[in-house]
């Protein structure tokens, strides 16, 4: 099987799996097995793309070319492959977790849930492997639409309101800004292909470059730059598996991934470094990462706190991209991987707590650590990774980002990163600390009996927590993959 066919399969397998499982809506067990098999198959397909990419190839396939110079095409390059690996790998765990969660909670419409989930993953694969900006835009919109039914899954007034905000902001920014910037780019450069070193270099002056880049950054509403971050907390009305995979991994990472792609392959980091086109975006992102952390401190609802934490952490990636130097890009890419692993752990924990105790507010969770020791231990590990303390994966990302901002002599950003890390400690550590060190509300229940969530919920979160630790030790091989990303056009 050629690598180009594999690319196409990466899109089609989840789609086919999704369709197949709708036929099995009457037998939940068969349905969930199909989900699991599809997820594993997809992961294997993504993995089998590695040999080619590691040897420096970029497998690609053109699906259609409706307008001259503008095609729908797929292409595997290191950055996209990394994103695809994260999304497809974590999909397996989320499917397991989702089975436990949905059954544990007796949710309705489970078939629609898993179907939309599969479509979303297919869209995420499309984003990861998009060969040009137009293809990426198509899948970006597909992801928005496919996740909308997931956000409104509960179907009550709250969910509908959240869904409206979600769809409204994402559609408005993507069509209003992203599509506009895309069209403008095509008009300037005559192509939208992702090329090493960028395509805009000869076509824009500093002013236009800055306007374009700003449009792109705000247009990618999924990256949750303030003031377009409101959808992310609003989307927390979704069931927790959705929040975990989509709003900690697939959707939000699709956003920052898009910005990274545009930075590296449309503008080229040299263009941004030379013209200072990223200035506005960089400061907005810096502002976002500090302010979101402060807002997170004020939230008592666990998922809301995690949501604002995500808003802040995404801005790390954007700052890294806008620094426009090698260390910044490495830091940003690592942050995508590390934060995904860490944040999905935290969301899994939040869901497990909800399934086991139906508690959502942090202030109610005192002493729960003894009832759910695994969950809260995992939460603690995930928190440390997000904060960026060794020996956990997150520390590498923060380290490279700091190096990048020092290299770019942006001392204010260095300070902001440090302050934000302190704030991260302030809003994440108390959750686990309360659970372990404070006495429970009602002492008569006794803290000694262990009453964890269903096994299907607890196992995945232990795996991701362990993953956060492992990533620290495999930081170097991750670094090697990232260093394959062509930052500049190859000199002839």
């Amino acid at each position: 099987m050629t690598d180009s066919t594999l690319l196409l399969l990466a899109l089609l397998v989840p789609l086919a799996g999704g369709l197949l499982l709708t036929l099995q809506s009457n037998s939940p067990n068969t349905r969930d097995v199909i989900s699991l098999v599809t997820a594993t198959l997809l992961f294997l397909i993504v993995l089998s793309l590695y040999p080619a990419v590691l040897s420096g190839d970029t497998p690609s396939i053109v699906l259609a070319e409706p307008i001259k110079g503008l095609s729908f095409s797929l292409e595997a390059e290191p950055l996209g492959l990394l994103f695809a690996t994260i999304a497809s790998g974590l999909w397996i765990l989320t499917t397991l977790y989702g089975m436990g969660y949905m059954r544990g909670n007796n949710e309705t419409n489970q078939t629609r849930f898993f179907f939309c989930f599969a479509i979303s993953i297919s869209a995420a694969m499309g984003i990861a492997f998009a060969g040009n900006l137009m293809t990426l835009f198509v899948f970006y919109e597909m992801l928005t639409l496919a996740t909308y039914p997931l956000v409104t899954h509960k179907g009550n007034e709250d969910a509908r309101r959240g869904g409206r905000i979600y769809l409204g902001i994402l559609m408005f920014t993507s069509i209003g800004f992203l599509l506009f910037a895309t069209l403008w780019t095509f008009n300037l450069a005559g192509t939208l292909d992702f090329q090493p070193g960028g395509i805009l270099r000869e076509h824009v002056g500093p002013g236009t470059a800055m306007i374009l880049l700003t449009l792109f950054a705000f247009g990618t509403g999924k990256a949750a730059l303030m003031p377009f971050h409101r959808w992310l907390p609003a989307a927390m009305v979704a069931p927790t598996p959705v929040s975990a995979l989509l709003h900690a991994v697939a959707v939000v990472k699709a956003g920052v991934f898009t910005i990274l792609k545009i930075t590296i392959y449309i503008f080229g980091i040299d263009l941004i470094a030379d013209t200072g086109a990223g200035t506005i975006v960089m400061w907005v992102a810096t502002f976002t990462l500090v302010v979101a952390s402060i807002v997170a401190l004020t939230k008592d609802n666990l998922k809301a706190r995690l949501a604002y934490s995500t808003v802040g952490q995404l801005s790390y990636v954007i700052v890294g991209a806008m620094l426009a130097n090698a260390a910044g890009i490495i830091g940003a890419t690592m942050q995508i991987a590390m934060h995904a692993m860490g944040k999905i752990t935290l969301f899994f924990c939040a869901g497990a707590i909800y399934v086991a105790t139906h508690k959502t507010e942090i202030s109610d969770m005192r002493g729960l650590g003894y009832r759910m020791p695994f969950t809260f231990a995992a939460f603690f590990i995930g928190s440390l990774s997000i904060i960026g303390l060794p020996p956990l994966g997150g520390s590498w990302a923060k380290w490279h980002l700091l190096m990048g901002s020092i290299e770019a002599t942006q001392w204010i950003i260095v300070a902001a990163l440090l302050v934000s890390s302190l704030l991260n400690i302030a809003y994440l550590i108390p959750v686990a600390a309360r659970a372990f060190y404070m006495a429970p509300d009602s002492p008569d229940k006794g803290p000694t009996t262990i009453a964890e969530a269903p096994l299907l919920c607890v196992v995945p979160l232990c795996i991701t927590a362990a993953g956060s630790v492992l990533l620290f030790f495999f930081g170097d091989s991750l670094n090697q993959l990232i260093s394959l990303i062509p930052l500049r056009a190859t000199q002839p």
């Binding site: 069509i175 506009f180 069209l183 403008w184």
Partner: protein, 491 residues
């Protein structure tokens, strides 16, 4: 045989119409009408293949050579329009039988199909004739049949809508007649080719300038260019179910073709747009049309009326594309003419299938229809997405060219406005989709079944074509691009 194709194209449905009126059995009439329209679709495809490489077919009616005799002339532009009229018309008439059954007596049905065929034949006539006066006659034949078709709507407001359209349409047609009269007065010819050769000598003649003014106003009424769109929303809303699909696909599009033919060929770009500065009127009007009509569409609570207002906005896109006067703009206008005809016909047809079951096009009656009629709603959603202009659908291609056209001119704010209008399209199409999928069905519609196959299949053909023409654009944008090149290359 091959040489006679243009005549066959015209006569096939024109002769089928009176035969149809003599059939007492509505089903037989339907069979005859369907056979005739599909045959003429085949002829249209054969003609398109013949002119594919830029060839021109010139057929002399009765053997009289032009400019004395009446000439039928088919080039790439009207071959595309011909395909539009015949293919989409045939698809609609195929679905028409089920939609009429039960609401109309057999004898009446025959007459209905007769009117339909007359309209169909007249539209073909407008498209292929090379004689200016013939355009007027066929325009009136098609309009008269259209008024009659609209007046058959079940609501009594169909009558007033039809009457209003009749008054406006007749004024428009008479204006066009005056314009043609002026042209003849000065040049002494009615053949379009001949006219375009003789006119440059008379550019400073006030009669010719007045002729352009009369023509523009007259055809703008027929195309429903904002603010002369007054007749359209009611006419589309109250026309009988599937008939709206036919009208939306063909009538305004053929009028738009006449506009292109006269402004670009007969009067010529240099006269109409450079000397008379038509763009300075058409651009602001079409922008206003796009924004205002889209805005009005958002606030409708009747799906049919919503789509009708969307048509006004979409027609303004096409006029804007023409008025931009660059390759991308004209390509956009011509390809959007085809694409929009396809998508709107499909949307109205899918809506007709829904109305067939729930007997209403009010949004609250369509609640939950995504679950009771999943296939119809699925087709509707695909074409709705196409109308918005999502990539990989036909609507994207033409909108892409339109925005490229504005960017080529350096009009960034206008490009931004077009994107805003796309957002509005997201809102109004989203409104229907949201109701269809995410609202519970009212109890009285709990046992609504899927539409009959004879309606469902045409709907899905439209939906699949919407996707096909989003991926393979040789017939639409490719052909339109060549036409645009030939217009701009000459001037």
């Amino acid at each position: 045989m091959i040489e006679q194709l243009p005549a066959i194209q015209l006569l096939l449905t024109l002769l089928a119409a009176p035969i149809c009126s003599m059939l007492r059995n509505g089903d037989h009439a339907w069979r005859l009408a369907t056979a005739a329209t599909w045959l003429s679709t085949v002829v249209a495809i054969m003609l398109l293949i013949q002119v594919w490489d830029g060839g021109v077919i010139s057929y002399q009616m009765g053997g009289w050579p032009p400019p004395w005799g009446i000439e039928v002339r088919i080039d790439e532009l009207n071959a595309l329009v011909l395909l539009l009229v015949t293919l989409f018309g045939s698809l609609v008439i195929t679905a028409l039988r089920e939609s009429l059954r039960g609401v109309m007596r057999h004898q009446r049905q025959s007459l209905y199909y007769t009117t339909f065929l007359l309209c169909f034949a007249a539209l073909i006539g407008i498209t292929i004739t090379a004689d200016a006066f013939n355009v007027f006659v066929f325009l009136e034949v098609s309009s008269l049949s259209t008024y009659a078709l609209i007046a058959r709507g079940r609501d009594r407001r169909a009558l007033t809508a039809s009457f209003r359209y009749l008054i406006m349409g007749t004024i428009g047609a008479t204006f066009i007649l005056i314009a043609i009269g002026f042209l003849y007065m000065v040049t002494g010819t009615l053949n379009m080719q001949d006219l375009s050769e003789r006119l440059p000598a008379h550019w400073d003649n006030r009669v010719i300038q007045a002729s352009l003014a009369f023509f523009t106003v007259g055809i703008a009424l027929k195309v429903a260019v904002f603010p002369l769109h007054y007749w359209l929303p009611n006419a589309y809303t109250y026309a009988p179910k599937a008939t709206t699909a036919f009208l939306a696909a063909t009538a305004t599009k053929v009028s738009l073709y006449v506009m292109i033919r006269f402004l670009f060929d007969v009067y010529g770009i240099e006269f109409a747009f450079e000397k008379m500065q038509l763009s300075t009127i058409l651009v602001p009007l079409s922008i206003a049309g796009i924004l205002i009509a889209s805005l009005v569409a958002i606030f409708q609570n009747d799906a049919k009326r919503l789509l009708a207002w969307s048509s006004v906005a979409q027609l303004s896109y096409m006029v804007l594309g023409l008025a931009l006067l660059n390759a991308s703009g004209i390509t956009a206008a011509i390809s959007h003419m085809f694409n929009h005809a396809m998508m709107k016909a499909g949307l109205f047809l899918a809506l007709a299938a829904m109305i067939y079951r729930v007997n209403s096009s009010k949004l609250h009656d369509l609640a939950g229809i995504g679950r009771t009629m999943p296939l119809t709603t699925g087709a509707f959603a695909v074409m709705g997405v196409g109308l918005i202009g999502v990539p990989m659908t036909a609507g994207f291609v033409s909108k892409w060219y339109l925005i490229s056209g504005t960017l080529d001119k350096g009009w960034l704010p206008l490009a931004a406005l077009l994107i805003v209008s796309s957002l509005m399209a997201v809102v109004y199409i989203g409104k229907i989709i949201d109701v269809a999928y995410f609202k519970p069905a009212p109890p009285q519609h709990a046992d609504v079944r899927e539409a009959p196959l004879s309606m469902l299949i045409p709907c899905w053909i439209f939906a699949l074509l919407t996707i096909y023409f989003g991926l393979d654009t040789r017939i639409t944008a490719g052909l339109a691009g060549r036409v645009a090149q030939s217009y701009l290359g000459v001037s």
